[in-house]
Assembly symmetry: C2
Homo-oligomer: 293 residues x 2
């Protein structure tokens, strides 16, 4: 049961994640603000992708916890900054008031900055005799590329400038490949690197996670139209209100669902070419296209 | 002449800094926003401290450029976020409109995030046969600690919560040790580490930069009262308007100037115990307490 698998992994990720923040000698309110958003939960999809990739290679997933949590910190910081009045101006996230609603905008900016910074400290400070210093700095650089101007932040900037304008499907895909794709691909690649995967295997996994990231985003867009606010913990219909281009809008709902099925199929084809124990990754892919929140 | 030395170093730092940002494959407006604030200039004190420390050990300063520029990126990102309406709400920085005044608040948040992220990519990606992978990840971790919840961002949070309240001199010092001190100490320590300094030398240099950081902040507070807006490129008297505690306020102007002289003296005493060519560091310390902007 994938739900059971998720529950078990989430428990380990959460414990590690909270501990990293609590052990910092920081002003109380900053710590509270960081913890607030991290504890708001969420699917922990990025950490779980990393742990499941390591297990697919027969590795102990616990070794992946520091990097898994670093990615989740970056994901969380991006949500805190995204929700700010100057950005998406959201009051609700994962069913709770957004960070700036509770701690004020200034503290929310700083909590985001601190989480981003901590993520790199975590990766650079990995203590694992199977991880060389060379690999640590390589992982820091890859994480930064996935999260920064050429990755997630680049995608957010492009998204910002696209508001109020109708995009071509290619433009929309390019935004999503950066905005959500890069930080979904990183944990799969990092897990494979930690597991000592061969370049050919990493290549297939990168194709897998590229399709997975697009499927994730299309499902998000569909949920924004069809989902209900209570279950999602954020406001349904918010994309339309913000005049953002979405897949259902550009391709019709039918077209968006076809595209979702296509990317799931492609993702699985890549995965199934690999001589690894990919069962959990397969189930995660199914979960991503079927999820209701 | 220290001015000549500064000019020469600034040229090298700037060229390297701009190149790092320009070579990124990022959306144009994000690149422009990042460059705008980085090109706004400033004293480049942190990079110069690193380069001067390396030279004090007889090393080629050029080797220090990646880390010097990483620190300057973090300094610049902190100014962009600090100037936001939700934080200090400043319209003017280094004589130019602040980033959010030109690019909007959302892009300013993202430009700051991207600069912070890029700084770690830069350190992790150092290509220098004298710098081991072990040292690279060590430097990433140290930079993150100096910049994050236990360092600069922690100091900013404490500063935020201190507004409108009169602090004790000890509280004020503690805020400054974090808010400005940590990111001024890091380049001195990083320069020493790159130069292969002995632990005892690093210890003395850390004491030196601790006093230097406090002297820097006291001078800043004095300038905020005595300086003129035009020369500083930011509004004089802004601390008082924001009801921030300052050294002149807590200790009188006379007391603040005495404390400034004390920290300069202590900084120099640490420096002069070192068997290195500390002339430039000595001159930088003098510059810090005499500067008019």
């Amino acid at each position: 049961m994938i739900e059971e698998y998720f529950r078990e992994k989430i428990q380990k990720v959460d414990a590690f994640l909270y501990e990293q923040i609590k052990q910092k000698d920081a002003p109380d309110e900053l710590t509270e603000s960081m913890l607030y958003s991290v504890e708001a939960g969420g699917k922990r999809l990025r950490p779980i992708l990393l742990l499941a990739t390591m297990e697919a290679f027969g590795q102990n997933a616990e070794r992946g916890l520091p990097i898994a949590c670093a990615v989740e910190m970056i994901h969380t910081y991006s949500l805190i900054h995204d929700d700010l009045p100057a950005m998406d101006d959201d009051d609700l996230r994962r069913g709770k008031p957004t960070n700036h609603k509770v701690f004020g905008e200034a503290m929310a900016v700083l909590a985001g900055d601190a989480l981003l910074t901590l993520s790199f400290e975590l990766v650079a400070g990995i203590e694992d005799r199977h991880v060389s210093s060379q690999m640590k700095s390589d992982l820091v650089a890859r994480l930064a590329r996935s999260a920064g101007a050429e990755g997630m932040v680049g995608g957010q900037s492009a998204d910002l400038r696209a508001e109020g304008r109708t995009l071509s499907p290619e433009e929309l895909e390019n935004i999503h490949l950066h905005k959500t794709g890069k930080l979904l691909s990183f944990p799969v690649e990092a897990g494979a690197l930690l597991a000592g995967a061969a370049p050919g295997q990493i290549d297939l996994l990168n194709q897998f996670s590229r399709h997975l990231g697009l499927a994730f985003q299309i499902r998000d867009d569909i949920l924004d139209v069809e989902g209900d606010t209570r279950r999602m913990g954020k406001s349904a219909g918010s994309d339309e209100n913000k005049q953002k281009s979405t897949y259902p809008q550009l391709l019709t709902m039918e077209g968006a669902k076809q595209k979702l099925a296509y990317h799931l199929c492609e993702a699985k084809q890549c995965l199934h070419q690999l001589d690894i124990n990919y069962r959990r990754l397969d189930e995660i892919a199914d979960y991503i296209v079927q999820r209701n929140r």
